[in-house]
């Protein structure tokens, strides 16, 4: 079984429009949540989000591309451009066919759906833009990546809500382990800060009206974010043969299904996903120092995740640094696991645990060390990143320092 390493990173997020900006924000504990500007929120109860700042599509895409590429796929391409360039790869000859693209999104082209259906339902329009379907389909991000970079190997999209890009990264790793590809472009993207979607979150009553303060008492809930992250995975052999810079090793992947409730998380499902990941990675509980938590900031997730971590790590749980970087970059939904994978890799490289921002006072039901507000320099040999999705489909990824 091939070992798998990470050789390129790219990110587009409220916290930073590239890896350098994102790293600075992450390791400074900066909260990038603010008012939503993409549509008029004046009659909305939830008016905040984590938007990519100062985003001008025309600076990155020509008119013809913009007619065909939804905002979520634009972010997917931008993050991938950065990651591919960072890895120093070009997909020519045999490598094009030996490279996979596995990409996650929860919804796909939500702004395309919203804008075009608004024309029909609200404006009495009779037609929608001819590229409505190819823009909104969830696999558009994956397909656009293959087209822009000429990647011709295995390529598909995973859609498992907030675990979408966790499944993508894990399955990409499995392709490389198995020898079905030498390189994988993987990650995820989401851009659904739209009138319709935000009404949906508002109705579910899990979205915060002020900010995202995971694990804190009196927290208001989750904050929807947007963006994308791409990781370049390679077999260790392939990376070493070309002398690639290696950020970290992707050690393992665990999955589980709650088989419980469509929105209520289960501790049992989370426990099984974490244990499956540690087993796959060959890690003992004592080998892990940092956990990038799912940490949505909802009353439902945070105590359940805390209890799951306590169940798996037992007496070692108190020695773990556990933080939710969603407190800074918002909940990027289908792109969240990818953004948080990048955050975890950056934490490993910097040997700094990013904090849980906006932490006010402890919740008696959440009693771990959440690295409140201040980044913490510490020795991190191995780290895991949790993603527990609506629908009860869970993923956990394990990362270790570069071999």
């Amino acid at each position: 079984m091939n070992r798998v390493v990470i050789t390129g990173l790219g990110v587009v997020s409220a916290l930073g429009r590239n890896v350098a900006e994102f790293r600075d924000g992450l390791l400074a504990g900066r909260c990038a949540i603010g008012p939503i500007t993409q549509f008029d929120t004046s009659d909305h109860q939830v008016r905040i989000g984590a938007e990519v700042p100062d985003y001008v599509p025309e600076e990155h895409f020509d008119k013809n591309q913009l007619a065909q590429i939804d905002r979520f796929a634009q972010f997917a391409l931008l993050a991938t451009r950065e990651a591919v360039s960072d890895a120093g790869l070009s997909f020519e000859g045999e490598l094009a066919e030996r490279t996979a693209v596995v990409h996650g999104t929860g919804i796909g082209g939500q702004s395309t759906q919203d804008e075009n259906y608004h024309k029909l339902y609200a404006e009495g329009g009779k037609r929608v833009h001819p590229f409505t379907i190819p823009k909104l389909m969830p696999n558009a991000g994956c397909s656009q990546i293959t087209m822009e970079f000429g990647i011709k190997g295995p390529a598909f999209t995973t859609a498992t809500a907030c675990s979408s890009s966790g499944h993508a990264i894990g399955l990409a790793m499995m392709l490389l382990r198995q020898g079905m590809a030498d390189v994988a472009v993987t990650g995820g993207a989401e851009a659904c800060l739209t009138h319709g979607t935000m009404r949906g979150w508002e109705a579910l009553r899990v979205a915060s009206k002020d900010t995202c303060s995971p694990f804190s008492n009196k927290r208001g809930g989750m904050v929807v974010g947007e963006g994308a992250a791409t990781l370049i995975l390679e077999t260790l052999e392939h990376a070493q043969a070309r002398g690639a810079k290696i950020y970290a090793e992707l050690l393992g992947f665990g999955m589980s299904a709650d088989a419980g409730n469509i929105v209520q998380p289960s501790m049992d499902g989370a426990v099984r996903a974490i244990r499956n990941c540690l087993k796959d990675a060959g890690l003992a509980t004592s080998d892990v120092q940092y956990i990038n938590a799912h940490g949505t900031g909802t009353p439902q997730n945070d105590p359940t995740e805390t209890a799951a971590i306590r169940t798996v790590f037992a007496e070692l749980a108190d020695g773990l640094a556990v933080s939710s970087t969603k407190s800074m970059h918002g909940h990027v939904l289908g792109g969240a696991a990818a953004v948080e994978a990048v955050a975890t890799v950056l934490a490993l490289n910097a040997q700094i645990a990013p904090p849980t921002a906006n932490f006010t006072e402890p919740d008696p039901k959440c009693d771990l060390d959440y690295v409140p507000n201040t980044p913490r320099p510490m020795a991190i040999k191995n780290a895991i990143s949790n993603s527990f999705a609506f629908g009860g489909l869970n993923t956990v990824l394990a990362f270790g320092r570069a071999p």
């Binding site: 007619a67 009779k126 037609r127 001819p130």
Partner: protein, 86 residues
């Protein structure tokens, strides 16, 4: 065809032409102007929005028996549909 309808159509066609010709007239061959089938789909959308008409497949339009090959074919179709709309 120096009327306004033709001028509007030519402007839309030109905005989607990959190989923009010096000028466009009824004889301009769409494929030579770099308008492929995908661009034509967008052009039809723009024309429908501009003239508030619905453009069916060319062979369903009265008096048309071929696909849109030239700019003139497009003008003819749009004018026919505008006449039908009254």
């Amino acid at each position: 065809m120096s009327d306004q309808v033709s001028a509007d159509i030519f402007e839309i066609l030109l905005s989607h032409a990959e190989n923009k010709p010096e000028s466009m007239d009824a004889g301009t061959v769409l494929s030579e102007a770099g308008i492929d089938s995908l661009a034509l789909v967008e052009i039809i959308f723009d024309l429908e929005e501009k003239f508030d008409i619905t453009i069916p497949n060319p062979d369903e339009i009265e008096g048309m028996d071929t696909a849109f090959e030239t700019a003139g074919d497009v003008v003819k179709a749009v004018k026919t549909l505008l006449d039908e709309k009254g």
